[in-house]
């Protein structure tokens, strides 16, 4: 994106004279009707469910799709949705049997059948490279499906897959009609949105490539999760998802009343937005915290004393205080407090620059060069960190860390470039040694998605890498994560998850900063806004006051 970056300045420009939103905060009985207009910073790219982790995609898929199970965003417990009960599982979690609700239809009129559900998971669990449709990150060890009778379908796994039940509740497992399942990547992309048929409370009716997507309510929707008080059709008549890359225009459109809501309010603007009368919603994403990961396979970071020194030299509290608001709580563990598997490790990261200096001296980084950076064997202690563009104020966070590390004689460079360059450079150990990221999934498997060498591999710990010698691999990380992934018992999964976190913290592999929220602003006539467990908007219960 162009990153015109005038946001703050231009908000200051108009905030003095834009009329304040004075709609009464009338709660009470939900009213039916009205189309909500909602701004996203980027246009959606792909509505293939396993690929909807990208925020703009997920914000749409979450509202048009229904899933086998429903996960309560507060308790993270699973409840029935299109399956009438929780699945029957065998002892080692290699088989799951779902019984389907009757009478569910897709927006193209076709019914939800066991055959159709089987076809969905065959695609999500295996992917189809010939159509460039990747396998779902959330479904591990998928083997095959089996239709038992006209209501039941069973899924088989080659190894325990205890995360599967939760995976069926996420928007990445939004069910698609048979015709939609035959689409290729082009069909799921811009220009083809109206071919995508789902069975959620809204369906896609109109698309203007690059700027707008319209969904409208399904009057016949009668299969909301039984756990919810609200049943039947959604209150809204529809939602118009609008895209504008320019931050000040998005915020300005909501402040001036031209739009109802916006995602991605930046921390410095929160107070101005509320002063104008808008409602601010900061929703937890319940995942891995916003963190930096030390790629220990790089020889500069191989020494645990160096990693501990970096951790001691970074003042996390200063980052949160200077750059963020109370909606971004200081991390107390590798996971957010609301995440499954959370363990409090708040005492593990103490800011102590003197200690950092001692540790670096101990590690042999005693000399300084003319620029004031520590040198060993003629080589400066110089590291590079990526900019995590989807993460809030990543560049500012890294700039602050750069200053903090400079004080102890460590040079941190910030890798420049756009999204593609960040992605590509972050795959190279020689280019990026410190990796800034976060990932949200409301399941224990989140740890595996992030740290395992077969998933996101934030440490670049894959044994077959050629840019680091084999002795630098830490096989223990994958061992602990595999043990977690193979543990079918929920209670034992908690202790397996804690073992992973203890190990990563003891080895000083990770430094978490804060629990990352999704921050939305809505005009006061918008009521009942909610999000699913990882902070994507859920407009099913949303209603507009004053709409008839």
């Amino acid at each position: 994106m162009l990153g015109l970056g005038l946001g703050i300045g231009s908000i200051a420009l108009f905030s003095a004279c834009t009329p304040t939103d004075t709609s009464p905060l009338a709660d009470g009985r939900p009213e039916q009707g009205g189309v909500l207009t909602y701004f996203e910073p980027q246009t959606w790219t792909l509505l293939y469910p396993p690929s909807v982790g990208f925020y703009p995609n997920g914000g749409i898929m979450n509202n048009i799709s229904a899933r086998l199970l429903w996960q309560d965003p507060k308790t993270l417990e699973l409840h029935p949705w299109l399956a009438i009960e929780l699945p029957e599982t065998n002892a080692d979690a290699t088989s799951y049997t779902f019984t389907l609700r009757r009478g569910v239809t897709y927006s193209d009129g076709t019914p939800l059948t066991p055959e159709n559900v089987a076809k969905n998971f065959d695609l999500f669990g295996k992917g189809d490279e010939s159509r460039t449709l990747p396998v779902s990150e959330q479904i591990s060890n998928y083997e095959r499906s089996e239709v038992l009778d006209d209501r039941r379908v069973r899924f088989h796994f080659s190894a325990p897959s205890p995360g599967f039940a939760q995976a069926t509740s996420t928007m990445n497992a939004g069910l698609l009609s048979d015709s939609t399942l035959d689409l290729d990547a082009e069909g799921f992309g811009p220009g083809g949105a109206k071919q995508i048929h789902t069975c959620g409370p809204f369906y896609i009716t109109d698309e203007t490539i690059g700027t707008k997507l319209s969904v409208r309510v399904r009057e016949d929707y009668d299969w909301a999760p039984p756990h919810l008080k609200h049943q039947g059709r959604a209150h809204l008549d529809g939602i118009d998802y609008l895209t504008n890359n320019e931050y000040s225009v998005r915020i300005g459109a909501v402040l001036s009343g031209q739009a109802d809501g916006v995602r991605d309010v930046q921390a410095p603007d929160e107070s101005r937005v509320t002063e104008q009368g808008l409602r601010l919603y900061a929703k937890a994403t319940n995942g891995i915290n916003n963190s930096i990961n030390f790629r220990f396979r790089h020889d500069l970071l191989a020494d645990i004393d160096v990693r501990r020194a970096l951790i001691a030299a970074i003042d996390r509290q200063e980052i949160v205080d200077k750059l963020f608001t109370p909606n971004y709580p200081l991390a107390t563990g590798l996971l957010a407090k609301g995440a499954m598997g959370y363990k409090d490790q708040s005492g593990s990261w103490v800011y102590d620059p003197d200690e950092a200096g001692r540790l670096l001296d101990k590690a042999g980084w005693t000399e300084r060069n003319s620029a004031g950076y520590r040198v060993k064997d003629g080589r400066p202690l110089a590291l590079t960190v990526n900019i995590a563009l989807p993460q809030p104020r990543s560049n500012e966070v890294q700039t602050l860390i750069q200053q903090q590390l400079r004080r102890v004689g460590v040079r941190l460079s910030i890798n420049p470039g756009d999204q593609s360059k960040q992605t590509l450079d972050a795959l190279e150990l020689d280019t990026v040694q410190i990796y800034h990221s976060m990932v949200a999934r409301a399941d224990f498997d989140n740890l595996r998605s992030n740290y395992s060498s077969v998933n996101r591999d934030v440490f670049l710990n894959g044994p077959d890498r050629t840019d680091a010698d084999d002795g630098s691999v830490d096989p223990k990380v994958d061992e602990l994560l595999d043990a977690l992934a193979a543990e079918p018992d929920a209670k034992k999964r908690q202790s397996a998850a804690e073992k992973v976190q203890d190990y990563l913290v003891d080895r000083a592999y990770v430094l978490p900063f804060f629990e990352e929220p999704q921050v939305f602003a809505f005009r006061r006539r918008v009521h009942g806004f909610a999000t699913e467990p990882v902070g994507r908007p859920d407009f099913y219960g949303t209603w507009l006051a004053g709409e008839k």
Binding site: M1, L2, L4, L6, S10, L13, F14, C17, T18, T37, T45, L46, G53, F54, G127, E129, S130, T132, P134, V135, E137, D184, A185, E186, G187, F188, G189, P190, G191, G192, T208, I209, G210, T211, D240, L242, N244, N245, E246, S248, V249, G252, A253, S256, Q258, D418, Q419, S420, K421, T423, L424, L427, V439, S449, N455, R456, D457, V458, G462, D464
Partner: protein, 364 residues
């Protein structure tokens, strides 16, 4: 005959050659950038694909084919109207371009017309004030308007216009505006910086023509300022203006990238900005070729218009040699041209020929 067939064929051939060269240069440059769109998209850790799966996708999309076969494939694709598929979304590039092109064409046309109108107004006002005396400051201020306009950042202007006219005054809506409503502010955003170079050239050429001998003669005969402007000055000042109009097309495209991004208009500019972010080479290649095509067409039209507007350039020889003849004061040519110029009412001033710069432009 106004247009020489051989000249036309030559210019068309040149245009096709320019297109081919632009395509090739863009292809080579995009191939040189490390990391392609397929890797950028599918190696994203968020997708959690294994290296084997990525390799399979690379093979399926032909990303690992030799550059020569990819070059031939995309070249033949372009010749048959098949621009390939976006690596970012998988959608056909032709679909994306087809959705974006009309919006950009409308914006470019309205922005361009507005820019020309604005430039003419500025130029006329700036050159009609008194050059000396107590009111000469008006002229000096108007004279500096183009420099001011050209230094306004396009995105700043766009945001300012939205803030004032949409959010504060509520004249137009940025959310679901009508077709005309959606065009007003982006058009102004594109037009203001675009009008600057046109106005500057017009001011200079009007000033030069005003200072020339035939104008003095006409003034001596009793013509008023405004009569002069319309009947003699304008005609002679229009050719340099036409040349610069051909040249500012590039700025029009650049302005559209920013303007469409600020206003959230789906156009070639917006998809270019997005394609750059995502290394979407098939889209970038198509945009380069389309932009070059537009540039070539506009300059071809401008070149072909010269002889229509300026009779001195109507000759079987190329425009360049005609101009050479003029400069050499070739007596028979001069006499012939003066005669034909008189027949269409164009005043020629041999000492100071605005056509000089024009003819140089047409050589390129």
């Amino acid at each position: 005959m106004i247009l020489d067939i051989r000249y036309l064929a030559l210019r068309l051939g040149q245009a096709i050659l320019v297109l081919l060269l632009a395509f090739t240069a863009a292809f080579i440059l995009l191939s040189l950038i490390p990391g392609d769109g397929v890797t950028a998209r599918f190696a994203d850790p968020a997708l959690g694909l294994s290296p084997d799966q990525i390799a399979d996708i690379r093979e399926a999309t032909g990303a690992d084919d030799s550059w020569a076969s990819r070059y031939l494939l995309s070249l033949t694709g372009f010749l048959t109207g098949d621009f390939g598929y976006s690596v970012q979304t998988g959608a056909a590039v032709s679909t994306i371009i087809a959705a974006a092109l009309p919006s950009t064409a409308v914006l470019a046309a309205s922005g361009f017309v507005t820019a020309v109108v604005l430039a003419v107004i500025i130029a006329v006002l700036a050159t009609s004030g008194p050059t000396a005396g107590p009111l000469s400051w008006i002229r000096r201020i108007l004279d500096s308007v183009p420099s001011l306009f050209i230094s306004i950042p396009v995105f700043w202007l766009g945001i300012l216009l939205i803030q004032v006219f949409s959010f504060q005054l509520g004249f137009v809506s940025v959310v679901e505006p009508g077709p005309a409503e959606a065009l007003v502010l982006p058009t102004l955003t594109v037009a203001v910086p675009l009008s600057a170079p046109i106005a500057q050239v017009l001011i200079r050429s009007i000033t030069e023509v005003q200072a020339s001998g035939f104008v003095k003669v006409t003034t001596a005969k009793g013509a008023s300022q405004s009569w002069l402007l319309v009947h003699t000055v304008a005609r002679n000042a229009v050719l340099p203006g036409l040349t610069i109009i051909g040249l500012v097309f590039g700025e029009l495209v650049a302005g559209a990238v920013v303007t469409e991004t600020v206003f959230g208009r789906n156009g070639i500019g917006l998809i270019t900005a997005q394609a750059v972010t995502h290394r979407d080479n098939p889209i970038l290649l198509a945009v380069v070729v389309i932009a070059t095509f537009g540039y070539v067409i506009i300059n071809l039209v401008v070149d072909l218009l010269y002889p229509v507007i300026d009779v001195r350039l109507r000759t079987k020889r190329s425009a360049a040699s005609a101009n050479k003849a003029l400069r050499n004061h070739d007596e028979p040519t001069r006499r012939a041209l003066t005669a034909s110029a008189a027949s269409v009412g164009v005043d020629l001033d041999w000492a100071q020929t605005p056509g000089d710069t024009t003819a140089k432009g047409s050589e390129s």
